[in-house]
Amino acid sequence: MAPPTGPRAGTARAPPRGPRATGGGGGGIQKRRANPRTDRDGDVSMDAPAGGSGRGGSASGGRGRGSKDARGGRGAVNSRTSSRVVQNLQNYVSGGPVGKTQSNMATLKILGMSNSKATGNRDGGLRSLLTFLERKASKDKAVTIGKSILDGDYVWITVRKDDAPEILRLNGFTYAGAPLTITETTERMPRPEDKISKAAEETKQKLTAVLAARYNPELKLLDLSSLGTDPILSSMGTFDSKDRAEKAFKVLVVIASQQYKTAAEKREGIQAISLASNGLNDVMQVFTLASSLPDIKRLDLSSNNLDSLSKIAKWQHRFQYLEELHLTGNPITTQPDFVAELIKWFPSLQNINGQIVRSPQEVAEALKGMHPTPLPQFPSNLRDGEANVASIFVQVFFPMFDTDRARLAAEFYDDDSWFSIQAIANSGRNLPWKTYLKYSRNVHKLGEKNPATVQRLFTGGNLIADMWKALPSTRHPSMENPGAWLIDCHTFPNLADPTGHGFATGLLITVNGQFEESDTTENLYGKRTFTRTFILGPSKPSNPPPVHPYRVISDQLTLHDWTPAETPAVQAPVANQVPQVPVTNAVPPAGPVILDDATKNQLIQEVMKRTGMTAEYSELCLSGTANWNFELALKSFEEQRANLPPTAFINAV
């Protein structure tokens, strides 16, 4: 039987948990609220044309996207804002766990007290009603009422199930001049916080209307100026006039920031805030702006009472994106140094009171200062001794790796050479890693006890050459393009001497760069970034003598996805660094390679081997436009080949 509805039931007809159509209330059970108007009208419509105050009336629901955020935990508000209103709003938006129904208790609803004479009592007559019921019910045994609450026209009570008939027996009794209707119900009893939530809901509806009226979608501006004289806020009892602006501000900022799902949306939706004419004498009063809307670009604080930098200091190093600040009409603007100081505090700040105070370049520089600073990048550092072994080696190695890997392995690798590849396949932004993963000797990922660390280590020139055949073809950039390479190299002592006596000097070469890859079997083309570490040592004595006086002892190829930022690999050294140790042998890659005769002879030998030309022609080829660049020399040879006389070639003689 449906309980009769009193004349005022419309205002608080049912507990919030009830299966009603209208929105509102804590929604612990119902995940989605099926009221379409909520989304359309409930939001402040931050990204829609200005709503105007008239929209406030239809902002029923009031549950925007923000409520979902609050569930996700983002609704956490700075503790400083925990005024009662905010607390209530938090309760409202986050909902609460549904109370467990106690199986041995019955819930009863009593209608009629609101028509009784007892409504004039301070507690609405609740206490005297409960006394009345207990007295009348305790006929055969003492009946005690458990919980009770007055909610609109209804009084809700819980009693032990055994006692419920005793109370229900009183249905139709007259209390203080009014007949009582008592029914048992399975509905959940309203909780005290539900009543607060209802108040909060109403408050929120009004505040939402305030926000809608104060939002300018074109300027992405939330105008919170002159809050003290806002007509809607004035009409609300929640904010007494004394610190209305401050209280209203905190709640408005919370609600406004709840309208957005993500920080990025919020950053886009609210770019400017005006707090003009709020009588502020310290930003502490509106401090939470920095936590709720940290990404705003424009802030208007004009016509307040901020009289010194210390009154803004609480916001120091916040508002990373703040570009424009208005302080006109504050005593602080008479201080001589306030602009210089504010620039230091807000890295993006370019405009104070309409005056340009910093260029975008200066801002970009200042923003870098928000984070620890990467170390400066210096050019390649080649300290490879007098013979320039490393310079020549890399000039020969990479073009040959692109064109003739079998020969490369035969010339520079011996039976004890080690080679392995590790693929740092962390993001897959570029090319797939399929081809490399089966070879990848990433000990970090494999684990040092993994047998693969042995299987994926290729030892000896023959094995290495076979493995290289399986790798996609590559094209390394020209050595003429120094920006494409970072090569560091130095000698070090204490390698085993191949003759078996004493120690030998080794050469460590680390090459960082990129190459183009074409994997014809997988039909994949693209760029890879690599680090390649070589250890060179003296060749073992052999008969016939080794092709080169040195050999590759170790060759580690690391492939990774990282694409360096557009800043060139070689940057100008930054001032005020740790004093640089002079490096006598350092050869900047941009400069010409200065070669001694021995090195020149070595290069001539290389060109002879590769082209079949005589020493004389090989030297001509190198010393011409190639300027002793091995790669260019080969290129010019290819171009001129047809024009060369037969005498240019060794075989023809």
Binding site: M370, P374, Q422, L486, P493, T531, G537
Partner: protein
């Protein structure tokens, strides 16, 4: 295969050494702690044998001592805006290690240098290694979360030549000893 060959023992040993080294080294870096003690420079046995100072080349710049490298790392941690120490986080994504001298004896105790004690030589067979380790990973500038916005991130590549710490070889149970020391260090972050 029930038993592993000598070469496999050496390969595994080098992997374990590289793991121990990188684990320690990058934790120190991320925690903002010094790493100078990892280099041969401060080791008495290497000093006595006149080993040259570790060759340290950072982004193409030669650094004279490990302490200067520590100072450079401190400078890198500084947040210019606040002039306070921020977090610079090093994350290893991979490393590879090759043995480049399987019978390293420089600055070793006399009985190892002269190889007079066959048992000792056998026991230290997989410990007398000179290795090259290539490490790849990422470095994040401002991982502490205090700074707003996206912290800059770089890729780093570190190459170390490691040589045995004879103090460890002779007293492996002593906790304070590192197994290997850095004889050469080449760093690039971009």
């Amino acid at each position: 295969m029930a038993t592993i060959s000598k070469d496999e023992a050496i390969i595994r040993s080098s992997g374990e050494a590289a793991r121990a080294f990188t684990d320690w080294y990058y934790t120190q870096l991320t925690d903002g702690k010094p790493i100078a003690s990892a280099y041969v420079n401060s080791n008495a046995k290497y000093l006595a044998a006149s080993h040259p100072p570790a060759d340290i080349c950072i982004n193409g710049q030669v650094i004279a001592t490990p302490e200067e490298w520590d100072a450079l790392l401190e400078q890198q941690r500084l947040v210019p805006f606040t002039q306070q120490k921020g977090k610079v986080k090093y994350e290893v994504e991979g490393f590879d290690v090759h043995v480049i001298n399987k019978d390293y004896r420089f600055a070793a105790p006399a009985e190892i240098v002269a190889a007079t004690d066959p048992k000792l030589m056998q026991r230290t067979e997989d410990a007398r290694l000179m290795m090259v380790v290539t490490v790849a990973g990422s470095v994040t500038f401002g991982a502490g979360g205090k700074e707003k916005g996206t912290p800059p991130k770089q890729h780093f590549s570190d190459v170390f030549v490691l040589v045995p710490n004879w103090d460890y070889v002779t007293r492996p149970k002593f906790k304070g000893h590192k197994r290997y020391l850095v004889a050469s260090h080449t760093y690039r972050a971009y």
